[in-house]
Amino acid sequence: MHPILKLVSQRLALGLLLLLAASALIFVGTQILPGDVAQSILGQSATPEALANLRKDLGLNEPALSRYFSWLGGAIQGDLGTALTNGQDIATSMGKRLGNTLFLAFWAAVVSVPLAIFLGLVAVRYKDRWPDKMISAVTLTSISIPEFLIGYVLMYFVGVKLGWAPSVAMINDSMSLGQKLHAIALPVTVLTLVVLAHMMRMTRAAILNVMQSAYIETAELKGLSSFQVISRHAFPNAIAPIVNVVMLNLAYLVVGVVVVEVVFVYPGMGQYLVDHVAKRDVPVVQACGLVFAAVYILLNMVADIVSILANPRLRHPK
């Protein structure tokens, strides 16, 4: 078998195993919370008889292991159960939310990843000179300020004072793409500012590391310009570490947007999760946890695979 195929299938198998472990952890985590679903549905004043009946109806008297497998089996088939609070199918109501979150994360990534890499290249080109220092200072400042604060500051100045973008990022199906993009302009900006520093600094460090190599000297002695040396010779060898940090940040864009979504009242997964945590809707929390875990594992797996593919020794064995 081609070594690449072997490595990639190993990564896939590991990813699936990890996802299984994550599902077990999520299930156990929600089980060890005090009280159970029946208690939460009926409230503190419920009679013991009513509780016993409901537990029987919900199958809560089954051993935890069999409940885990029936939950997992359902999840694999796309059935995440029904929400306790409103009795709706979780998969259906979450599907739209997830779509919205991915929409927001996608556009944040489209802006932030090329920008971060470009700024990283510029920082390398002007290493230790003012453009490098300024890029570092600005991105570090923006990552140091909590995202809700950036959110409110932008909302006040850009949204309220200047009126350039709506301060509440409501979107729905009837809006055109342009309208949607206009609506999410502010949360995209906040997310970009939050993830930019990390990716830009990693790009800078990875390329600077490669710049020490002898083949960079060879390139310089061919009379290439600094930018040609960096983009043609240094960047291709720095892809693996850059992809890893890019994927970590993409995962953050999906999983970590909770705060930003709440600040901008954006109808995404974050809002959905926060609402149902507040109501102790355990099946929804479990489902959200599973989806977040899957996204996280998937993106990191992609990073691993891209790193493998970026290595010419693996792509073209002797």
Binding site: Y215, T218, A219, E220, K222, L224, A310
Partner: protein
Amino acid sequence: MSDPLLKVRGLKIGATVYPPDAKPHKIKIVHGVDFELQKGKVLGLIGESGAGKSTIGLSALGYGRGGVELTDGEVWVNGRDILKGGIGDLRKLRGAEVTYVAQSAAASFNPAKKIMDQVVEASVSQGKFSRADAEAKARLLFDKLGLPDPDNIGSRYPHQVSGGQLQRCMTALALCPEPDLVVFDEPTTALDVTTQIDVLAAIKEAIRDTGVAALYITHDLAVVAQVSDEIMVLKMGNMVEYGTVDQIINHPQEDYTKALVSVRSINHEEKTPTQPILSAKNITARYKGTKFDVLHDVSIDISPGQTLAVVGESGSGKSTLARVITGLLPPKGGSTDFAGRTLTPDQPSRSREDLRELQMIYQMADVAMNPRQTVGTIIGRPLEFYFGMKGEEKRKRIAELLEEIEMGDGFIDRYPAELSGGQKQRVCIARALAAKPKLIICDEVTSALDPLVADGILKLLLNLQKREDVAYLFITHDLATVRAIADSIAVMYQGKVVRYGTKSEVLSPPFDDYTDLLLSSVPEMKIGWLENVIATRKMESAGN
């Protein structure tokens, strides 16, 4: 005489150094050199490390490596002083008029790009040739340089060809834009001798056929004598002697040049083998997770107080043999007797006495020492560990050992970073000696050192052997070193001992094919040696 292609006048080069515990300051590394190079001629720059030869070579491209600055002087190429122009002018010169061949092609090729892309890059981006023309030229050069499958080798990645082939690709890279001058910076130093001779011949032929001028930088006088018209000897950034090859090789004027010419002339009388102290029998070994044996049925004996040299090219299994004997790699088959007892195959189960009597010295002295320990601590460690020495007694013994390695106890509180390469290796020898071993395994201990320094280390090892009656297993790829130090020799090739016996037996004919190839590939300090060897080989292969 026509205007020279390259004219260097009063070139001074400095660098900024950043010592860990002092303020950054500027040092001078080249103190004003002058030389000229006519079209189509080859000038050899020779000297030890730190002589400034690479720095001077790179100045022909207006380039300073790291913090190196060309502070003063003139470098004229094709009638222009290239130090006067800006970086834009230099970029037009680099890769077009002047090109560079680096020591390690393996490190100097970008691992992420195909060979052809890199070979034609300068020609195309400098606008000298179209991509198609440049590729056609590159294929011709691949063919001329004796690369296999010249039409397709360019579509491979650097890791897919061997070191010797890559070095030839690097030469093609430098010749492809049809430059006026090529700077060769130790292009064969990292290669095995049998590969070196082919690359050397290919480079020489390419220089002759293209009529390009060259600066050829090396520390090996025998190599430079084969390719150059003139030689400049450098020492510590100063020119020592400058003349034709004949003048330098046959009639050197300066003491330093004479020392370089007569290096490796240690005369060592071989001793007759006696009852062996170490006897490895039928060793077969393989590394974990691999499918091939790296040692096949290897048997060697070492007599007490004598030296067995194990010689071979990279990958021949010399160092693996050392790992088996020291127990770092338990063998698949075979056994090792040492001082009348059989050693256990793996190192952790060996007695302290076994460990003490079998010591090791490595190629890279600077990574074999803890940089945060003083020389005293490094040498003192085996004294504590094996003999339980403490306080004044230990200090006295350390001073004695430092005396033995000709350094004196003034070094006792120094850190490795404050020592020269030769001194570091001496400290490693003292550390091995501190255990009072019966056998020391020396793994390429002089390979990383300059010839004169290496000579000093070899003399020291021979003296210590006389005084302490210690045996050496001396691993090396360098036949001159073998001649200088060995009593017996084992020639290894592809994991097998192909020739074994006393030094006089092994080094006298009739030879087996491999030993013959190995011996005839070692450059000799004679003008025309390379042509003779190549001609002889061609005749032999024609005869076959």
